[in-house]
């Protein structure tokens, strides 16, 4: 399965936020609650990645982990793509 680059996923994360009139700051250490990026937004991002790859991600594979910053989101999507 092909994978999307971290930059591409970051752009898509920005699109999820901009649809709600919010901006994605450049600092990956920004906390998600500071920018209003919620669980549903994360879910939407994962589905956008699925649609772009035209492949199903294995959502059950990665263990539960803390997703608190922009960087955590990008790491988690990386993990989903390689699971």
């Amino acid at each position: 399965m092909s994978t999307l680059s971290r930059d591409r996923v970051r752009t898509m994360m920005g699109e999820v936020l901009s649809a709600q009139g919010k901006d994605l700051p450049s600092d990956d250490d920004t906390r998600l609650n500071a920018i209003g990026f919620r669980s549903l937004d994360f879910s939407e991002l994962a589905l956008r990645v699925e649609d772009e790859l035209d492949a199903e991600l294995n959502f059950d594979a990665p263990g539960l982990r803390s997703v608190e910053t922009v960087s955590d989101v990008l790491d988690f999507i990386d993990q989903l793509q390689s699971a």
Binding site: A19, S39, L40, F42, S43, E44, A46, L47, R48, D51, L57, F59, V67, F76, L80
Partner: protein
């Protein structure tokens, strides 16, 4: 006039796959080999009409379906149950020897709850339109052998003046012109059928001089009723609730979605008893299939609002659990359909990380680029809780429709 001593509607005109004559004129036009007990896999409505006429005028046991409904395994099961399987002039004989159950008609359920199963009826139990009716030429676009198809067929067989134009599944693009040519004045179809018709060929469809428009087979919302009133101002617009198991149970003619709450738990001789348990519609009807007497749990979700009972969709597919919050697919769909540029919509849950499922939608617009997907999401966000707003929204180029005339189960 024919001198045939057949059903009361023998001299009604039927137009079916190139045949244009009366039911009685099907005598001597048989292209099928019809055994006394047979499952007829009709390639078209002319073949199906022959099987109907043979059943109505003979001592037979009959199942009629389109070939696509019956797989090899099911054909074998039918033969094991004592029915020959008829494919045109070819007959695969029954595998047991038994006398036909004279008058029995078998229907296959829609299959929305799994594998199609057989439901026992007769011409009598399938005939639900009675009494004097104004002369009409009906459009019958339903799948051959489906309950709704039989409703139109039995009406035409039993009531003089009820002619029928049958539409073949492959003619869904061209039926409006055929209907104009045949002088159709009444038509029955699912909401999806009507939405697709108005979306594809609104100008031709609007030329039809319809006096009766009937909807059924799917939840009927106010927006499609209003649209049909607007396009066919001279028509009575009705919706019916019917299924092969429960029979024809509800008919509403006041132009409004849902039925009056006053009809609930009411005992009226000759009418089905309607009730609601745990938001599910329950029906006890004398038009039910055999073996289905008593209260039938319909599996359909209802909602009461403004003294109307609205049937919103299948319970099994309506609830979308989004991180513990329950979104109703029917409610989301209703919000999308309220948008003035939306011609059709369907809503489903889709598996997603963290929250389990998210709401997704597919939408067809009145015209390409009439509105953006982002605008539609914003429309929903203004009217729905956050968890119910579609997170993925796909614009489709045209309204998808199945042979059942439904697009969503």
């Amino acid at each position: 006039m024919s001198s045939h001593a057949g059903p009361a509607g023998s001299d009604n005109r039927i137009v079916a796959h190139g045949f244009d004559g009366t039911w009685a004129q099907l005598d001597g036009r048989t292209t099928l080999a019809l055994p006394p007990a047979g499952a007829v896999l009709a390639n078209n409505n002319f073949e199906a009409a022959q099987a109907v006429w043979a059943h109505a005028t003979g001592e037979r046991e009959t199942l009629i379906a389109s070939p696509s409904r019956i797989g090899d395994d099911q054909a074998l099961e039918l033969r094991r149950s004592g029915l020959a399987v008829v494919r045109g002039e070819q007959v695969e004989p029954a595998l047991i020897d038994r006398a036909p159950e004279v008058g029995r008609i078998w229907l296959l359920t829609s299959g929305s709850t799994g594998r199609p199963k057989q439901v026992a009826h007769t011409l009598e139990s399938l005939t639900t339109v009675r009494g004097e009716q104004p002369p009409r030429t009906w459009l019958c676009p339903y799948a051959t052998g489906a309950y709704a198809w039989w409703q139109v067929v039995t009406m035409s067989l039993s009531l003089p003046g009820q002619d029928v134009l049958f539409v073949e599944p492959g003619q869904m693009d061209s039926w409006p012109q055929q209907a104009l040519d045949a002088g159709v004045t009444a038509a029955s179809g699912t909401p999806t059928f009507w939405r697709q018709a108005l979306w594809r060929s609104a100008e031709t469809v609007a030329q039809l001089d319809l006096r009766q428009v009937t909807l059924g087979g799917e939840p009927v919302d106010q927006s499609i009723l209003d649209r049909l009133h607007e396009v066919f101002p001279k028509a009575r617009v009705s919706w019916i609730y019917a299924s092969s198991e429960a029979g024809a149970a509800i008919a509403v003619h006041d132009g409004r979605a849902g039925f009056p709450t006053a009809w609930l738990d009411r005992e009226v001789n000759g009418r089905p008893r309607l009730s609601v348990q745990d938001d599910e519609l329950i029906i006890s009807s004398q038009h039910a299939a055999e073996g289905m007497s008593g209260a039938i749990r319909t599996g359909d979700h209802v909602e009461v609002a403004d003294e109307r009972v609205l049937i919103t969709g299948r319970i099994a597919s309506d609830e979308i659990n989004v991180g513990g919050s329950k979104a109703s697919a029917a409610k989301v769909r209703a919000v999308l359909l309220e948008h003035p540029k939306v011609a059709w919509a369907t809503v489903r849950g889709r598996k997603a990380p963290l929250v389990g499922n998210v709401v997704t939608a597919q939408v067809v617009l009145d015209a390409p680029d009439a509105v953006s997907d982002a605008d539609l999401v914003a429309w929903c966000a203004e009217r729905l809780p956050d968890y119910a707003v579609p997170r993925r929204l796909r614009l489709l180029p045209e309204i998808p429709i199945k042979e059942t005339l439904k697009s969503d189960v």
